[in-house]
Symmetry: C2
Subunit: 229 residues, 2 copies
């Protein structure tokens, strides 16, 4: 139905943050390839369902990024499961997932479930602290990318700087390691230029926080990444 | 070159244990589909290389199961990397592997590298204790199998009872969960009957310790599994 391999730009909406109907309409009709619903703090099932029902007025594909088991609900086009590769804890890589699969495994439509190999590279980010990450060196990041593709055959490797613009040179080196696994980049993209720069190396650029910080600028990232047409 | 999907029986040889030239010849010419070189205790590069050179006189495919980084060496047909899914430690699932990929990632021939999703189910086994495992309940084992296939797309899910014969009913239920991932069963197989029983549900039966305990019986497991022809 949707070909993720053609995606270039995704907006990430946080169910715990306010967005007006008008702004939501502009996001959904912006030409972005998909909307991810997900966040780190206080994500509730009510919040997720409310946001889903509002996005469903539009034709854009919607993805639930599962940050905790309480928010799993049918109705999304895809389900992304983060596997935090640079966490110190097995919990964020295997245990929560195991619990979820034990509970929901038999009713899951696995064609729509995708594991994201996350590498969180900003130590000030909430997600970094919550999942007890460590910062790998450059060779370490590249090795995680290789593991994501070659060992675990993950559809997505996600470099997350959450709140800070990352190093384009590193993103480029990671991209060179990947043949099949898509490279997602998220974090600190506020302007069209920043989006364009990151898109030069990542397959898909994710714009999240800036929606809530400078809405008009955030909207310009779509055309910057996907072109005018 | 080799089609692992057709394999039914594998002998596992421990570089830390003695085997005579005559017995080794009988193992290699037994009709088994492959030999895994691997063990838990005191596996050294010298031991691995010595065993490899002795097996290489025969045509049977040889696999190195990488239990520690010191023993990685070229010359094997395949490299199996255990990922211990029911370990409490991230170490046995990600960290050792990350270190290996950082060191050897760029020279690896990934077509010959396969991750085994291990589930170790005998708490008295050395491997269980070494890797700090916990025993999952039945639903937990089935969930690990689903994760191996659906989340990590692993080529192999390995139920390891190491030293004790496992529960055939559980092996059967695991097999029913798997469409693509091969089910390997190892542990406690001494007789032709035991091998046959486990092969009814597992794709591949691995015979290890009994080679060193009752050699003649161990040899009979090949025909029991693969038939006379």
């Amino acid at each position: 139905m949707y070909d993720m391999n053609k995606w270039q730009h995704i907006f990430k909406l946080d169910p715990n943050k306010e967005i007006s109907d008008d702004n939501l309409e502009q996001i959904c009709d912006s030409g972005t390839d998909a909307i991810i619903v997900g966040g780190t703090d206080h994500v509730t099932l009510d919040g997720v369902l409310h946001l889903l029902s509002r996005i469903r007025r539009y034709v854009v594909p919607v993805i639930l990024e599962i940050s905790n088991l309480d928010v799993i609900t049918p109705g999304f086009d895809f389900y992304y499961i983060p596997m935090v590769m640079n966490s110190k804890d097995k919990k964020w890589m295997m245990d929560i997932h195991h619990h979820a699969v034990k509970t929901y495994g038999d009713v899951m439509d696995w064609d729509n479930v995708m594991v994201e190999g996350y590498c969180i590279l900003n130590e000030d980010a909430k997600a970094f602290q919550l999942t007890n990450c460590t910062i790998p060196d450059e060779e370490g990041v590249l090795a995680y990318a290789l593991m994501a593709e070659k060992m675990f055959r993950l559809p997505i490797f996600y470099i997350e700087y959450s709140g800070k613009l990352g190093d384009p040179a590193l993103v480029k080196k990671v991209k060179q390691k990947l043949d099949h696994t898509l490279l997602f980049y998220g974090g600190g993209i506020h302007t069209a230029e920043e989006a364009k720069q990151m898109k030069e190396n990542a397959d898909v650029v994710i714009v999240g926080n800036s929606i809530y910080e400078n809405f008009k600028q955030a909207l310009t990232t779509v055309k910057a990444v996907k072109g005018e047409g």
